[in-house]
């Protein structure tokens, strides 16, 4: 499908937006791996790691979400549909991630197995958001 505006009118995600989006992926994945380590060893430090990795991931993902919302409002019609899916998936990842952070605040094994299950769901959602986001053209003219 040809884009009538030509290559010069298309730009990728802003580098900072891309950094925020991609940056939260290893943090969410780290939380998942830490949860898995805790569930298989009962070693409490792994779940401490998971809690902090989630906080870091939520900060980056939250900023990426704000950026994506602003982009969505400024996007021209042609790209709104695709951007909307990206924003919704990222929003879902953040909301489930936040619930996961609250679950991680339960003491010791009280968080299991919910913490591990939620971490898997969040990891899938954030990978999907990243895929959608990084393959989405940013709208607007490039000077």
């Amino acid at each position: 499908m040809a884009d009538e505006r030509g290559p010069v009118a298309r730009a990728r995600l802003h580098p900072v937006h891309a950094f925020l989006l991609a940056g939260c992926v290893p943090l969410f994945l780290g939380a998942l791996l830490s949860d898995w380590a805790y569930s298989s060893t009962y070693e409490i430090q792994w779940t401490n790691f998971a809690s902090w990795l989630l906080v870091g991931a939520l900060v980056l993902a939250g900023l990426a979400l704000l950026w994506a919302l602003v982009d969505l409002l400024r996007a021209d019609r042609g790209w709104r549909g695709r951007s909307l899916i990206y924003v919704l998936v990222l929003l879902a990842a953040w909301v489930v991630g936040f619930i996961n952070a609250l679950v991680h605040a339960k003491d010791a094994w009280a968080k299991m197995p919910e913490a591990l299950i939620l971490s898997v769901i969040v990891a899938i959602l954030v990978l999907a958001a990243c895929w959608l986001g990084l393959s989405t053209w940013r709208s607007g003219e490039v000077k």
Partner: protein, 439 residues
């Protein structure tokens, strides 16, 4: 119509976050067979931090026939008291703990809980109060010892005063009438102090003066700091007063915050704070006679064989051996003081124990914030508790005081330390034959 969806989301979120509406029920949790619901926790723990307020003209409420006066104010976090043979009162003042914050939750929870306590810095000292002429006014006040490290438990054996700092058991020489320690303390034995989540070290002496019993709290609510830091925690040590050597007298007591020797039987009793965050009505704090060599459940189980699923790895053998405590005090009341009464306290409160309840954070409506009396018959608890000092939390929901240590003065008075208003309260029976009490 468009508003409906967001409202529904808010509604669901609120339901998820709250403790699902079972918080207002008040099952009977007093005595030997408390009602124990199933464990439950919402997405957020129930938190109700009562905001402090000054006493103003108000006073704690005591039963008819009793009077209460503040015998010392503006202290620096008074916790436990000791009545000396000449009637002088020693007050241990301090605030311990200071564990590192390990998780995001630790940062949030510590900020919230601090709102319910006094902003005053702990005194790390012992203050001596003296009423020389016996008129009920403690006109002399001296600093008996300072530069201590969060002193809490106090005990006197002969001419030796024992003080349990948060990290060591200390001793001072003591002569009757002394108002200031004659020298720095000597360390009897270091006490477990790594992390020190539950930092208070309760103390009492055996009747023959050979041993000291030291209550050492757990290093976590329910092992969320790992099992390694729980070595030598959640137990009562028996320490040889001469040598400082110790052995484990009883274990599995999550936070034994006050100890007392029962008159006549000479048995050791304790009040113990049980675990949080499995519901408003779990787990009842308790008063129990401490059996030598006994295991009381923590962390693996509570109230005997009720397994706590939050602990990994589990330990079925330990659960099977867990002793059921003697007397439930209600969940989250935070019992921090215990003292056996005497005939001098008046006929209705002569046989039993007083228990100081610091008050809850993990419960709505709040519980505790009072001093109760548990009546005894033939050396055993024999009925529901009776309110003895109340209205530390007003009807407006604000807290004016939080009771900690309680001590019975043989002359006929209950001494109550209040670490929120930084006051020592004295409750006395009003004798019909005596002159009207001075207020």
């Amino acid at each position: 119509m468009r508003l409906v969806a967001p409202l529904a989301v808010v509604g669901v979120a609120t339901a998820l976050l709250s403790a699902c509406g079972n918080s207002s029920s008040n099952p009977n949790q007093y005595g030997p067979n408390p009602t124990l619901p199933g464990p439950h926790r919402g997405l957020l723990p129930t938190m109700k931090i009562a905001s402090p307020a000054g006493w103003g003209d108000q006073r704690p409420v005591v039963p008819a026939g009793y009077a209460i006066t503040a015998i010392a104010t503006d202290l620096k976090i008074p916790r436990q008291t000791l009545v000396l043979p000449n009637g002088d009162i020693l007050v241990a003042e301090g605030r311990g703990g200071g564990e590192s914050k390990l998780t995001p939750k630790d940062f949030v929870a510590s900020k919230l809980k601090a709102q319910g306590t006094s902003p005053v810095k702990g005194g790390n000292r012992l203050t001596l109060l003296r009423d020389a002429n016996g008129d009920g006014v403690y006109e002399t006040r001296t600093v008996f010892a300072e530069n201590l490290n969060a002193p809490y438990g106090l005990a006197l054996i002969g001419n030796t005063l024992y003080v349990a700092d948060q990290d060591a058991l200390l001793k001072f020489d003591y002569r009757t009438g002394q108002t200031r320690a004659s020298g720095p303390p000597v360390v009897v034995t270091p006490l477990p102090s790594a992390v020190n989540h539950h930092w208070t070290k309760a103390l009492t002496a055996s009747p023959d003066g050979r041993f000291l019993y030291v209550g050492i709290g757990s290093n976590s609510n329910i092992t969320e700091r790992g099992m390694n830091v729980e070595t030598d925690r959640a137990m009562i040590w028996q320490v040889d007063a001469q040598t400082g050597a110790h052995r484990q007298f009883a274990t599995g007591l999550r936070n034994p915050t006050a100890l007392a020797i029962q008159p006549v039987t000479n048995q050791l009793w304790a009040v113990v704070n049980e675990r949080d965050e499995i519901g408003p009505n779990l787990v009842p704090d308790y008063l129990t006679q401490v059996r030598e060599g006994g295991f009381y459940g923590w962390p693996y189980s509570y109230w005997g064989q009720h397994v706590d699923n939050r602990v990994r790895p589990q330990n079925a053998a330990k659960v099977a051996s867990a002793i059921v405590p003697d007397y439930g005090l209600g969940s989250h009341v935070a019992a921090l003081g215990v003292a056996f009464s005497s005939a001098a306290m008046g006929p209705h409160f002569a046989d039993g124990v007083f228990v100081g309840e610091h008050g809850s954070w993990n419960r709505t409506p709040p519980s505790g914030y009072r001093v109760i009396f548990v009546p005894f018959t033939n050396g055993r608890p024999s009925g529901p508790p009776i309110d003895f000092v109340t209205s530390f939390m007003g009807k407006d929901g604000k807290t004016r005081g939080r009771p900690v240590g309680v001590t019975v003065d043989p002359k006929g008075a209950l001494i109550v330390a209040d670490d929120l208003s930084n006051t020592i309260w004295r409750v006395t029976p009003v004798r019909a034959t005596a002159a009207p009490p001075t207020r």
